[in-house]
Amino acid sequence: MSVLIDQSTRLCVAGITGREGTFHTLNNRNYGTNVVGGVTPGKGGQDVEGIPVFDSWADAVSQVQPNTAMIFVPPRFAADAILEAAAAGVELVVAITEGIPAHDELRVYNTLKRDGHTAGTAGSGTRLIGPNCPGILSPGKANVGIIPASFFEQGNVGVVSRSGTLTYQIGNEIARAGFGCSTIVGIGGDPVPGSSFVDVLELFEADDDTELVVLSGEIGGSAEEEAAEYIAENMSKPVVAYIAGFTAPAGKQMGHAGAIVSGSSGTAAAKAQALEAKGVRVGRTPTEAAAIAVEVLGGASVGA
């Protein structure tokens, strides 16, 4: 098994006709993901390499029944695209777009919640992953987003991360040590993500094929602290963590919109401490985090 995406995924892409949208959609299809359509207002009836394009999410849903949406449209159109896909009944929306205003994300999150969609509760309405995330990869099954699949093997490690490249770094070290992943979920680096660490940890806990979870966090907000509480109370599976940004100065946004230490809150040290206080082992470098994961799984570390 895996979480969120697998062979039953039917993917439809908002922004499929854009340069990046086309490139990554075709990459996902080449990987084996079942891409059933795309949505670009005004381009309904066209196709992208045989993938039918629709004017609206309602059209796409009635014609090709997607259960997963990928959002690849520019920031100013992204919030409405997410809400339109949800309103049309798509169960999972993966928003790759970076640069969506925080107030739009707040509106999206609270609209989904009001309309009975909950990121977090399986089986009820739409779940949003992202925005500003690399997407989801279930190795050997499906790839939705921009995660380079070649760095990961199929296996039993669940990965959840706020950062893309850091996930590749850690996942690749685990793969080199001979282990693979059930699913890699990028929840994104923005201040108001649709799904949090806790939401994804819950999925991994319930997934038979996931034996261990690697959580990769960074400065800003308190999602890691909330994850620590959740892990202590609800997780039977081991979790290994890595936190980036120990040397980040306060008040400076470090690349991601959500990666900022405000006053004395959101520091990497506080997050690592909160996790360790609940018995979660935290690697000081990505290599160390991967090595701990490998050790817990019973393998030999490949070292630095």
């Binding site: 609270n110 380079p148 770094q169 909330e226 008040g251 690349g255 006053g263």
Partner: protein, 387 residues
């Protein structure tokens, strides 16, 4: 983007929040003219994006011309914790009966707007929250409905505002919420929110942070922020569209992906080095971006060695290598480089770099090894494994 006090107050005024009349000036002469215009007594306030202005002597009351000349003269050019005062705000002095506190911010944990109010204003609000948490009212707002006047009244009552200003405080909170919402702010704070002897509720200070991602829908706000005190390298990076933060060390850092670059800073510090910057060249960065990035890093004279740490996903290592080769051709760096290329097309990238035989460029296999090498090089030691 953080706004200066007077810029925040101008936004406040636009949304109907009461503020004192004032003028922003950059010379003593203009300060005198401004004081005449707003009327004595005036307050001369340093405009810097750092707390503790008052304690540093950056806020002074002036009753007459000679006091304005003296205070404006002292404050203009003053250094407050590394920020040079270029602008002072001349404001008509307010009589104060009470000092309250009000703010609206984005609560990332609750994923809702949070309105905070206290009658203990004029002091560090984090201290109030710690010492007497019952005196800081925290009210989550339904993001889709907004803050109603009734809710404002409820917050003011709960916080213990004087009976005769409950409505005034509610109006101020609703206006502050409007600033937060309509200007795409992530924080809008008034400390102190004063009550005058005439029972008027006014914003005596402002702290506003705007969401950079939303600036496209606020062209009028794009020119704000503290341009003069912005680090020149950070300003240049912004103009070139690079994600760059200047730091205090001597090891230049170039990587792709915010998380990986943050992690690179940590690993370099862990190895005993001090990073000179954060620079995320971004996913899919091409040769041209890499060249620009190298140029920017080397514009910092403190840099003694540079670490290029790439784990390529969408980015291609051969593109990064070509960018480095082009950069070396034009810039001819005088400091050593350590390059770690991993991921998409890494073999090709390393081959290109090897063939180019760039002077003083060292290749590393892993992130940890790269960090140790660059720390040694910055300290003037030699390392093996020249590419």
């Amino acid at each position: 983007m953080d706004l200066l006090e007077y810029q925040g107050k101008q936004l406040f005024a636009r949304h109907g929040l009461k503020v004192s009349q004032g003028l922003a000036v950059t010379t003593v002469g203009d300060a005198l003219i401004a004081a005449d215009e707003v009327g004595y007594p005036v307050v001369v306030k340093a405009q810097v994006l750092i707390g503790g202005r008052g304690k540093a002597g950056g806020v002074k009351l002036a009753a007459n011309e000679s006091e304005v000349r003296e205070h404006a003269g002292n404050i203009l050019g003053m250094d407050i914790k590394g920020h040079t005062v270029r602008t002072v705000w001349i404001e008509h002095a307010s009589d104060i009966a009470s000092e309250y506190y009000g703010s609206v911010l984005l609560d990332r944990s609750a994923k809702q707007p949070l309105v905070m109010f206290s009658v203990e204003g004029g002091v560090d609000i984090e201290e109030v929250a710690e010492r007497t948490p019952e005196k800081l009212i925290r009210h989550h707002v339904d993001a889709l409905a907004g803050l109603s006047h009734d809710e404002g009244v409820q917050i003011a009552r709960l916080g213990g505002a004087d009976d005769d200003v409950i409505d005034g405080v509610a109006d101020a909170l609703v206006a502050l919420y409007e600033v937060w919402l309509e200007e795409d702010a992530t924080l809008a704070e008034i400390n102190p929110l004063i009550v005058t002897p005439e029972r008027e509720v006014k914003a005596l200070d402002s702290k506003v942070s705007l969401d950079d991602n939303a600036l496209y829908r606020h062209p009028e706000n794009q020119a704000l922020s503290d341009k003069e005190n912005e680090d020149p390298l950070e300003r240049r990076a912004k103009e070139e569209g690079l994600q760059f933060v200047k730091l205090d060390g001597d090891i230049g850092i170039l990587g792709n992906g915010a998380g990986l670059v943050m992690s690179t800073l940590d690993v370099v510090s862990h190895a005993g080095g001090a990073p000179a910057n954060f620079l995320d060249a971004g996913g899919g960065s091409n040769a041209e971006t890499i060249k620009q990035a190298v140029d920017l890093i080397l514009a910092n004279e403190a840099v003694k060695a540079v670490l290029v740490n790439i784990f390529a996903g969408i980015t291609r290592c051969d593109e990064v290598a070509l960018g480095l080769i082009a950069a070396f051709g034009e810039i001819k760096p005088s400091v050593p480089f350590v390059v770690r290329l991993d991921g998409t097309n890494d073999v090709e990238g390393r081959r290109l770099l090897g063939e180019a035989a760039l002077p003083n460029v060292h290749s590393a296999k892993t992130m940890n090894e790269a960090a140790e090498m660059v720390v040694a090089l910055a300290a003037g030691q030699s390392v093996g494994a020249v590419a």
